[in-house]
Symmetry: C2
Subunit: 248 residues, 2 copies
Amino acid sequence: MELLLNHKSIRKYKDKDISEEIIEKIVECGTRASNTGNMQIYSVIVTKEQSNKEKIAPMHFNQPMVTEAPVVLTVCLDINRFKKWCDLNSAVHDHGYDNVLWFVNGVIDSMLFAQNLCVAAENEGLGICYLGTAIYNAEEIIEALSLPRGVFPVTTITVGYPDEDPELVDRIPLEGILHHEIYSDYSDAEIKHLYKYKESLGSSKKFVAENNKENLAQVFTDVRYKKADNLFFSEKLLQTIRNQGFDI
Amino acid sequence: MELLLNHKSIRKYKDKDISEEIIEKIVECGTRASNTGNMQIYSVIVTKEQSNKEKIAPMHFNQPMVTEAPVVLTVCLDINRFKKWCDLNSAVHDHGYDNVLWFVNGVIDSMLFAQNLCVAAENEGLGICYLGTAIYNAEEIIEALSLPRGVFPVTTITVGYPDEDPELVDRIPLEGILHHEIYSDYSDAEIKHLYKYKESLGSSKKFVAENNKENLAQVFTDVRYKKADNLFFSEKLLQTIRNQGFDI
């Protein structure tokens, strides 16, 4: 419980390798998570060679953790392996697993695997950082990691022994995400209340000033996750999902 | 680590309530998980009233856990709350968050939240069971829980004090999901090796016999997750995603 409550993303790592034994142990913890029909429709690619980290770094917008972490894990949804097993055991070879239903099931199961793995890693004294960029540049990652049709990168995680101890990051009040019996939609006053603390933080005010914005929300909409980027990467993601064999 | 390695889905619960304090504590652990840009694009609906459990039970194909568990949690991706905050702080009201990119980001962040919550619950002595049916009947669940546009059910979790202690479920060998540097695609011989243990289990052989099938893979393709169902629920899911305001 303490471990979960004190989770911080770690972006600076000591120059120390992670043993093969520990990697296998945390991956095993990943596989113990619940999953759809126990079909295990996920795989993980371990990147340890420096040249390969340098190859995929630009796909993660050159965030320094990719080349500096001893281990980079790319967690993929994988219906390829399961389909191969079905194909070997059936005269018919199209069972309808290449669509949006199984894409979403695959994302769900990949994340159950990933988060169990991360909790296990932190329990071993390791630090982790999730990179959401895996789906932004899935097309390039698919090529770099030789992912066949039916396999899709869901998230990338950098792992290493922590060389920093950052502050806990803020969260909105619990009441903001908890709904009883039915979803209670938010009034303007409630929204203002929920985001008040976040807006009041020194780091938030610094963001606003540095970017010449009027408020924190505009840092998100005009700088960090702006419309043109959202539309560009969404269209790119959709095409890549289709190109990997999913009928969406 | 022991907790993760010994995870079993619990489907039978003692007739004992879960205190509001414990619910809030495990939900708080959920919120400490990593998430995209700290935007917290998820919500959770807590179902405790028996009449509401009975209402949603058919949407989960009447699996008995839904009406028997003291607490049912429906974890939803939620861009509604975040968009409302942006709308309050900007003259422009379309920032491109209603598309496949943010749908997938939302599924990812919802599952990080969900799995942290489940690990915390098990640490409290509770048992959990994930119900994948949330996305199968998302349309009906959206109506039952009054989910507005931009909110989508990702997974449902039943929670309670365990009244059973089932066996650990099998997994394929670790080498089957671990790839080094690039994805190494599977030969027929490798697939046969990976699924050999699963096929050899007494429970698997029983499934095959009961369903009059030739092998275990056919139990999946012809009975449990068959083509007609996959296509039907995939099309239904796609339409429901669109109806909830996501441009896919």
